[in-house]
Amino acid sequence: MLRNWRQRITLTDVVIWAIGLSILVVVVIGAIATLRSGKYALETWFDLSMSGLALGGVYALIALGYTLVYGILKMINFAHSEVFMSGPFTAVFLAEALKRSGFFDSNPVVSLLLVTLVSALVSCGIAVLLERIAYRPLRGAPRLVPLITAIGASFFLQYFFRGLYGSGIRAYPNIPILEGFWSVGGLRVFRTDVVIIISAFLMMLVLYGIVQKTKMGKAMRAVSEDKEVAALMGIDVDRVIVVTFALGGLSAGVAGVLYALAFPVVNFYMGFIPGIKAFTAAVLGGIGNVPGAFLGAMVLGVVESLGPNLFLDGLGIPSANQLKDLVAFVILVFILIFRPTGILGERLAQAKA
């Protein structure tokens, strides 16, 4: 028994666990030191958490695209971050036009819905085209092939939109009713954050409903279980895959507008970092799992928002906020190493490549 146990633990395991534990220790010490120093008030932590949740909402909507596609095709749609970028980058022109005509100021809600709709449709269109042109011919190819195609498509789309719309940074017009905050029991709640969280949550609920309750959702789940058998049962696999990409694109387009409300930087490169983080969120929650994507995204958003101040500040690291992305990437690497199945996932990530 003892011998068996010793055989199973190799030197690499020991090294990996040592690295993991030491990072954990650093995080805990940092957090304790920050909290004891009392440098930040409760309000600050609350603000950070709220913006973290809002960020998480955006990640959740993007992560949905990764998770749905992974569930069905077992591939990372690397170009999903560009699907996310294409919508808001296109819709910003509509927003600008509406602003110029004065419609945006007189009907901000209608305008915003219109802009979101356009963004969602553009992202959806790009996702479907991507599937049709780049991925469909490669079904059944060795695993590296579609992945490289996805990376190529990602770069192509980035620079395609850069050529089309220019490399300048654009921003959505300010929306007065979304500015400012409500006071709840002495705490500030920013309106933008609330709108983002609520719309992301509703959107997730709708999409989850589609996957769980509709006939198409049933077909999607069937295809993700086993493509061949699903096809034998009379399911049009190609159509299911197109719908999957379309749903992922739609939610990414909505996420794009929400993201642009929180961060007024709309350009061809806006998709890269949120894309990787949303992928992290999808893995964190368990890839292929819709509620998992939501949970993972919320956790990631909050940790990323609180992390630099909470863990790193206490260790005396200067300008800890620079390292915000670092926190997310470290989480990504460690989740993939220690629990590649994620929080809610049951799928085996090490499945044969």
């Binding site: 190799t10 690499t12 090294v15 990996i16 690295i19 591939m75 990372i76 022109f93 036009a97 042109i133 780049a134 011919p137 490669l138 190819a141 060795p142 695993r143 590296l144 092939v145 579609p146 992945l147 490289i148 195609t149 990376i151 190529g152 498509a153 990602s154 770069f155 192509f156 789309l157 980035q158 620079y159 395609f160 850069r162 050529g163 089309l164 719309y165 220019g166 890269f272 990787i276 992928f279 893995v283 690291i317 200067p318 300008s319 620079q322 390292l323 992305d325 670092l326 990437f329 470290v330 990504l332 690497v333 993939l336 190493i337 590649p340 990530a349 090490q350 044969k352 490549a353």
Partner: protein, 564 residues
């Protein structure tokens, strides 16, 4: 296929639409305008116009070839229809542009582009001419499809060479001006921009004739010589190549040396990544990390600015290589159990972590933060400092030679075969007794060392390192070049680096669109020729298993039939 008639026309219509959309997107992305100033044939055919007729031409060739069962006239009509549809689309957009200000959305929908679309004429005659030119492009494409394979191949190759020569005219001037005797010939062939008309015709005829005549001969296998003689021949070939490589900088001058330096850097990194991705099949998207680590180690150990060690370049080199190799092991350890997609993402994360750490204020005292490290030592031999681009070329050349030799020897070694076994099927490889941990770690360590060497030389070339230049894009560059060249193939890396790094450096207009083209090339390559331009034999077999099986089955079946 109940109505072959209708399906052919429908195909032509669809292809015409695709051609139109492609031409339109090329215009709106800005490529047409950017290449307008570069004449292929002096004041007659600018590259921009060529891009506009490229899609209808190519699609007409393939569509007309597909309709092989139709009469020649019908096939020409297919090309004509295709060209007309494509032209009509362009005209339609131009007319919309007349009514609506497209430029508020598409920044490249500029008056210049409209001028190019209308050949600088007034709206109506310009658009009619555009329609006619597109139609002619389709027609010419379709008529090419009528030719025999041999003739068509010759014409196509001649066109490609014509375009290449026209594009590279300015660069050839730089070289030719250093070498007087060929100047008259050059003046006859080339104008101040692009080829002269006479030159174009001459080039076209000569190349088409050469290709045509050579295509006539049955391809003769290289005569097999006795081993001793073969050795001598090989040695002579290698000797000639070495002499040419050594003579390049003085012959070509500083500008080309600089381009060759970039190519050399990417060959170094490509050979390294080729071991990780090509040999061992581990997709590493954070490869830039090792290049950064090599460059930064060189900086930290040699820069007097930081003042830690102040070693010379050659003293610091082993340190940089060891640190890079060690970083490769550090990355390799945790990702041992991962495969495919997850590995790609983790390595990407690792690359970003290295970049963010190098940029951070936290590590500024050691790594210089966003300021980077300056005054890095350059390699010295005795009292000679290898500082300028021409001298550094030799450093890159030596690096590439060593690395290529190591990679070539590793490929068929026990370790190399173990890598490939793991790439093909890890479970089977392990069952055959290949130790997965050591094998994979070796791949990461060797790949990282090569990249670290590239980074060290780069640090010497720039005498500085900045974290801003260590982005994901570098990893993508390297990945693209080994994929375009052919994964796992050493000559493929060189071909890929020349095509993807050399060409954009040479064509300034192209530089802006290089990632657009890389992306399209990666997708296109995976769809049409996943084994790359210069494939490694084993991978080609792997990717075309079914076709090859079918091919070998056919003669076997025929032989069987004959025997019966």
């Amino acid at each position: 296929m109940a109505h072959p008639d209708r399906s052919t026309w429908r195909q032509a219509l669809n292809a015409g639409l695709v051609a139109g959309i492609v031409s339109l997107l090329l215009s709106l992305v800005g490529m047409v305008e950017a290449f307008e100033a570069r004449d292929i044939i002096f004041e007659l055919v600018p590259m921009g116009q060529l891009l506009l007729v490229l899609a209808p031409f190519v699609l007409a060739v393939s569509t007309a070839r597909k309709a092989a069962d139709r009469s020649p006239l019908a096939r020409l009509a297919v090309g004509l229809l295709l060209g007309l549809v494509c032209g009509a689309l362009l005209v339609a957009v131009r007319l919309i542009g007349e009514a609506v200000n497209l430029r508020s959305v598409f920044i490249n929908a500029s008056p210049t582009l409209y001028d190019i679309l209308g050949f600088g004429m007034a709206l109506v005659p310009g658009m009619l001419l555009r329609l006619a030119v597109s139609a002619v492009a389709g027609l010419v494409g379709a008529s090419l499809a009528l030719l025999s394979d041999r003739l068509r191949g010759a014409v196509m190759q001649a066109i490609i060479w014509l375009v290449l020569l026209g594009l590279l005219r300015d660069l050839m001037v730089i070289v030719v001006d250093r070498w007087g005797p060929i100047r008259p010939v050059f003046r006859w062939l080339f104008a101040t921009r692009g080829l002269t008309i006479v030159g174009a015709v001459a080039v076209f005829v000569v190349i088409a004739a050469l290709v045509y005549l050579r295509g006539g001969k049955k391809t003769t296998k290289i005569a097999i010589r006795p081993p001793k003689q073969q050795r001598v021949v090989n040695l002579i070939t290698i000797g000639v190549i070495v002499v040419i490589l050594l003579l390049l900088p003085p012959v070509l001058g500083t500008f080309f040396s600089q381009v060759l330096d970039s190519v050399g850097l990417y060959i170094l990194m490509g050979l390294g990544l080729n071991i990780v991705v090509g040999f061992a099949g581990l997709l590493d998207l954070g490869y830039v990390a090792f290049y950064a680590i090599g460059a930064y180690t060189m900086g930290v150990f040699t820069s007097p600015e930081l003042g830690f060690f102040n070693l010379t370049w050659f003293q610091a080199l082993p340190v940089a290589l060891i640190v890079s190799a060690f970083a490769g092991l550090i990355l390799g350890l945790p990702v041992l159990k991962m495969r495919g997609d997850y590995l790609a993402i983790v390595t990407l994360g690792f690359g970003e972590i290295v970049r963010l750490l190098a940029l951070s204020d936290w590590l500024r005292p050691w790594l210089g933060g966003s300021q980077g490290i300056q005054r890095i030592a350059q390699p010295t031999i005795g009292s000679l400092v290898l500082g300028n681009q021409m001298q550094l070329y030799y450093v890159f050349l030596a690096g590439c030679a060593i690395v290529a030799f190591v990679a070539w020897r590793l490929k068929d070694s026990r370790l190399g075969r173990a890598w490939m076994a793991i790439r093909e099927d890890e479970d089977v490889a392990v069952a055959m007794g290949i130790p997965p941990v050591a094998t994979k770690l070796m791949a990461f360590a060797v790949g990282a060392t090569f990249s670290g060497l590239g980074g060290s030389i780069l640090a010497a070339q720039l005498t500085s390192v900045y974290a801003h230049s260590m982005t994901f894009i570098v990893s993508i560059n390297v990945l693209s070049l080994i994929i375009i060249g052919g994964m796992g193939s050493i000559p493929g890396v060189i071909v890929g680096a020349l095509a993807l790094i050399g060409l954009p450096e040479l064509l300034r207009e192209f530089a802006e669109f290089r990632y657009l083209v890389y992306g399209a090339a990666l997708v296109g390559m995976m769809l049409m020729r996943p084994e790359g331009l210069w494939p490694e034999e084993r991978r080609r077999l792997e990717l075309h298993e079914e076709e090859l099986l079918a091919e070998s089955a056919e003669p076997a079946a025929a032989a069987e039939a004959a025997a019966n």
